[in-house]
């Protein structure tokens, strides 16, 4: 459906895209995940025809897009800050893409009204057509932007940080609604985000970007289970990197018992340990409880060992107290050569 091959784009000496390859299947909902500056927005804009790669190919439905200007690509694009036309009403914003079609393709006036009403209902803003963008909340603007993009009936929907400017509660609500909409309309969607929860929770597949490349493209489960490298592992989950040495099939730490690892070259390495990987039991040991706090999800425990502060999971039935000595066992670790 969307195919990107060897995309390169430089901004005055800096490579924003450094050989991106990516292929989306029809109907997929894909997240582009990465830190800011990793090139994800540039990639998205290249697909829409808003940026022009120095080298490489963009194919949409098998067609080379190199010579196709943005206005002829027919993709839906939702901008980060929505880019609503501020001088137009909600209705006029949504109708824009229909009203500017060449005369022979333009729907009639009544048809436009009908389509806009339909879209307003779809984004759950019925009767709001007469408002101006500055009279809407952030979540409402976001939905108007979406309706406007959908008005031209795109097969492909591109969203740049669609929930970035919204507060946490609205963001969660809109997430699931957007996913539902995508499934219902049979779209192929690609959305940019720097929020791993959002990407992992919502997307069929996640493309992790770093330094202008896609470093891993996989399902959320596969990403969590087998990160491609230390960078991806560090980016996902709450894992902290800890230096270690791999010897005899085990990773050796300072202040922690060794953990068995497979398939990692001997020598210096870096291990990623998530809170769930570290089990803490009471009793004499090298570690001490640095902080313990009960919250809605259980006990949050921080232990100190060998000068490190690590978040960990307490053994069932134990309520740790600050300063209490304890023992830490690493159940699992993702280890990469340093």
């Amino acid at each position: 459906m969307i195919e990107v091959q060897g995309l390169h784009l430089r901004y005055g000496g800096v490579a924003a895209l450094d050989g991106v390859n990516l292929a989306l299947r029809a109907g997929e909902f894909v997240a582009l995940l990465g830190a800011s500056g990793s090139g994800k927005t540039t990639l998205l804009r290249s697909l829409a025809g808003l940026e022009f790669p120095d080298a490489g190919q963009v194919l949409i439905e098998g067609r080379d897009m190199a010579a196709v200007p943005a206005r002829e690509r027919g993709v839906g694009f939702v901008f980060q800050n929505y880019a609503l036309f501020r001088h137009m009403t909600v209705f006029e914003n949504i109708a824009f893409g229909l009203r500017i079609k060449p005369r022979r393709l333009r729907p009639g006036r009544a048809e436009i009204v009908r389509r806009v009403e339909e879209l307003l209902a779809l984004v759950r803003l019925p009767g709001m057509g007469g408002r101006h963008p500055d009279q809407l909340s952030g979540g409402q603007r976001q939905r108007v932007a979406l309706a406007r993009a959908l008005a031209i009936e795109p097969r492909v929907l591109l969203l740049d940080e669609p929930f970035g400017a919204l507060d946490a509660k609205v963001r969660k609500e809109l997430r699931h609604w957007l996913r539902g909409l995508h499934d219902r309309l049979g779209l192929t969607s690609l959305f940019v985000t720097h929020d791993q929860d959002e990407a992992l929770e919502l997307a069929d597949r996640v493309a992790v970007m770093r330094d202008g490349r896609v470093v891993q493209f996989d399902t959320p489960e596969a990403l969590l289970a087998a990160p491609a490298d230390a960078g991806v592992a560090g980016f996902l989950g709450d894992a902290v990197p800890i230096d270690c040495v791999v010897r005899d099939g085990q990773a050796w730490f300072e202040g922690l018992p060794p953990v068995a690892v497979a398939g990692v070259a001997e020598g210096k390495a870096v291990a990623f340990l998530r809170p769930v990987d570290l089990l803490v039991e009471p009793g004499a040991g090298e570690a001490r409880v640095a902080a313990a706090r009960q919250d809605g999800r259980g006990v949050r425990l921080t232990v100190e060992t060998a000068g490190m502060l690590l978040e960990a999971t307490p053994a069932p039935g134990w309520m740790p107290r600050r300063g209490e000595p304890c023992r830490v066992t690493a159940l699992a670790a993702r280890v990469f050569p340093a």
């Binding site: 025809g49 808003l50 027919g74 036309f85 079609k101």
Partner: protein, 269 residues
């Protein structure tokens, strides 16, 4: 108990009065003087001065000059603002500096440069004279000098606004299928219309009121190459004070209308 960021009431009063005093002495009084002098002998002589054929010719010439100069700078200013605000290209900063240049040049020099090019001893003067084309001491010279002094008005009101607005709305229009003209017509223009109007008003006020530059290239032929400000000078030098101030009053009125319209536009935008 007053807030720590407020001055004592007496001090506030003193400062307000001082500011209003400065404004009255410095800004309002000169304006009042124009009208007082114009109506020194009542309405009738003032009106007669405006109905004089030479005065009417000056009004016509002034309107004509503005009607050419303003559209030229409107088109150029919009083009420049579009390029500078919406694109990155080498030489962008240089272009911005060059566009502001006419404002840092004395009006007399603005007229002088055209004399140096088109005058009797100018680069193109003799060549044009052979072909019967007169630029200096004629309408074309007045128009050119006026375009020069009003050059930056439209561009400089538009550039900061358009830079501020960024280009995402235009990009959104592009992804929705708009071509260049529709993008400009339906998205850019509505967003800048008040600023554009305000720039045009200022440009027009200056075009109609320009004195120094026009004075250098005009030749001061009564009824032919005299604009309103030049007519004011001639009348004044001939000691026809009431007439001079009557025409000046008309120009002052134009300034007041411009200021009023600008204030309204600023509140609308």
């Amino acid at each position: 108990m007053r807030r720590p960021t407020e001055e004592a009431p007496w001090l506030r009063w003193v400062l307000c009065l001082a500011a209003v005093g400065v404004a009255v002495l410095f800004l309002v009084l000169p304006l009042a003087a124009v009208f007082a002098e114009a109506f020194r002998r009542g309405w009738e002589p003032a009106v007669r001065a405006l109905a004089d054929p030479d005065a009417l010719a000056a009004v016509r010439l002034t309107l004509l000059v503005a009607a050419v100069a303003v559209p030229v700078n409107l088109v150029g200013g919009v083009a420049a603002a579009w390029a500078i605000a919406k694109f990155d290209f080498p030489g962008r900063r240089l272009l911005m500096v060059l566009i502001e240049l006419p404002f840092s040049v004395s009006p007399v020099i603005s007229g002088l440069v055209y004399v140096l090019v088109f005058g009797a001893q100018g680069w193109l003067g003799p060549w044009l004279e052979e072909r019967g084309v007169q630029v200096i001491f004629a309408l074309p010279g007045i128009v050119l000098a006026t375009i020069f002094v009003t050059f930056p008005f439209v561009a400089r009101t538009l550039i900061p606004l358009m830079q501020d607005q960024g280009r995402t709305e235009e990009e959104a229009a592009a992804t929705l299928g708009a071509d260049g003209w529709r993008m400009f017509r339906h998205v850019t223009l509505p967003n800048i219309r008040w600023a554009l109007l305000s720039g045009v008003l200022l440009c027009n006020a200056r075009a109609m009121g320009e004195f120094g530059a026009v004075s250098v290239v005009s030749g001061h032929v009564r009824g032919e190459t005299n604009t309103m400000p030049l007519h004011v000078e001639i009348l004044y030098n001939e000691y026809q004070f009431v007439a001079a101030f009557a025409v000046a009053g008309l120009l002052a009125l134009l300034a007041l209308v411009t200021l009023g319209a600008k204030a309204v536009l600023e509140r609308a935008g």
